[in-house]
Amino acid sequence: MNYRSSFFILTCVGLGFAFLYIPILSMVVFSFNASKLVTVWDSANSPTLKWYYTLLHNEEILDAAWISLKVAVINASGSVILGTLAGFGLARFSQFRGRFTLNAMTTAPLVMPEVITGLSLLLLFVALEQLIGWPAGRGITTMTIAHMTFSMAYVTVIVNSRMASFDSALEEAAMDLGARPLKVFFVITLPIIFPAILSGWLLAFTLSWDDLVISSFTSGPGSSTLPMVVFSKVRLGVSPEINVLATITLAVVSTMIVVVSLWMARRRKLDKAAA
């Protein structure tokens, strides 16, 4: 079939992926470069692991990473709960008061520029503080709330879309056999849509872990996240420790993606057979 192997298409795909990956690979390569200038290869001393050592002992970065981790985990777990409820509700109940609003509120954050969301949340926290005394200053709590607000939109979309291809006969069959609706949700629906919920959790985690703009607006003194620290370093130019960070991040993300997709592929067989 001439469309498949069209030379033009192949070239485009090849060049496109090269475009996507050359920057990433260059970061990885230069993380082993001994020179402090990062991009000027010091062939006398390279490749070396010295920057890896430096990074893993950098207090500032380690503290920031720890904060990012805490926020990301709480955010992911909270977003998954909120997002699953919203996604399930939007998919199963075709009419309820406020459906249109809920739908709009869960899709707007997907495209909204982060500066707007960040600014508005900060102003909210300030106003709340004036009004009722909570939250007292900004920090991890406010950041987590902010992250949950936009992450949950992503989870909602994922769960909603998964429910669309979910055979409602399964839920009806369970009810027919005597299970009450709440039980059906926990014993039948949740286990079956679990992969979608898991990918929602991972997405929420990643969004929170990588977030810069919203975190900057809603954080306080002493609660700098990893991206915030990276940003302040990077504004000044390149830094070999950042290359190392990038390489480590890449390694973790790729491993995770490969593991998760293999697991998903196995489960897809299950779902297909049940349809």
Partner: protein, 380 residues
Amino acid sequence: MTASAGGVVKAQTWNDPSARPYVEVERVSKSFGDFTAVKDVSLKVYKGEIFCLLGASGCGKTTLLRMLGGFETPSSGRILIDGEDMTGVPPYERPVNMMFQSYALFPHMNVEQNVGFGLKQDRLPKAQIQERVATMLDLVKMGDYAQRKPHQLSGGQRQRVALARSLVKRPKLLLLDEPLGALDKKLREHTQFELISLQDKLGVTFIVVTHDQEEAMTLASRIGVMNHGEIVQAGTPSEIYEFPNSRFVADFVGSVNMFEGSLIEDEPDYVRIGSAELGGTIYVSHGISAPPGATVWAALRPEKVFMSISAPAGGADNVVRGNVQDIAYLGDLSIYLVRLATGKVVRVTQPNTSRHAEAIGWDQQVYLSWDATSPVVVTR
């Protein structure tokens, strides 16, 4: 077609005026917005019956079934099961179970867990659940597959598991939504008889929804033909086939030749109909009730028409001449399309009883005739 096993119900309970119906649908209607899916339907189903709701898609049969199962609430009317009003009762509180068209087996549980799910909801002791599940699986011949997951089973095997799951709770009523639709022809025939024998053994009342009239005729003790949300006729398969009450039913179940005409003579024990379509007269040896001058239709089944090359003996009634326009040879029988002088095409089926019979060929002039008892007169 071999004999229908609808005779599971030994006495024809529905004809006994003192018998109490097991399931009663009382003037039930269901509307979705301004669309009325079920219009004022009343039905009595008796214990141990296999009752089939037969109709084309969109006729409301599935909606009616879902109301019986508790998945939809009637807009008006009542549903009684074993004497109790179950109209607003949710599915998990009804003594009714349903076998879904897609089987709806839980993909994350194995066969044993699927079948035992309903018993678990009733909080039966584990040992009892195991025992009943094992018995049921043996009954549907799936005992060896207890540990398998649904995606490891074939379509026919999944169907049997779905059946086991819906019967293991010994429901008062089992609802089946197009139970044989997903199976291929040979498997379907085999399963039809298995279904009937299973029902006989367990004595459960079945209500089946199907669009396949052959399936309905095989399975049912009685059939309810539905059209546009209403039950247009309910009766045994032979009643429906031989005595349809309307053109719709006559046409829907099996093939039929319909001749429009008007009453020439209307007597208590016979009628004579003149039909321009036919180009002749039809003599029917029973009386009908119709207002004078009304248009009537005579329904004639293709297998009840005799075809001959020479003119048959007898009067001018119930005979007509035509030309063979088309022949379809189906092995066990042949279908002939005969064109009359009026332009109407009549469908005749003849069994191929002997191998080298005098073959009637294309363009052959033939005489079509039939018994006075064969036509059914319908007035709507």
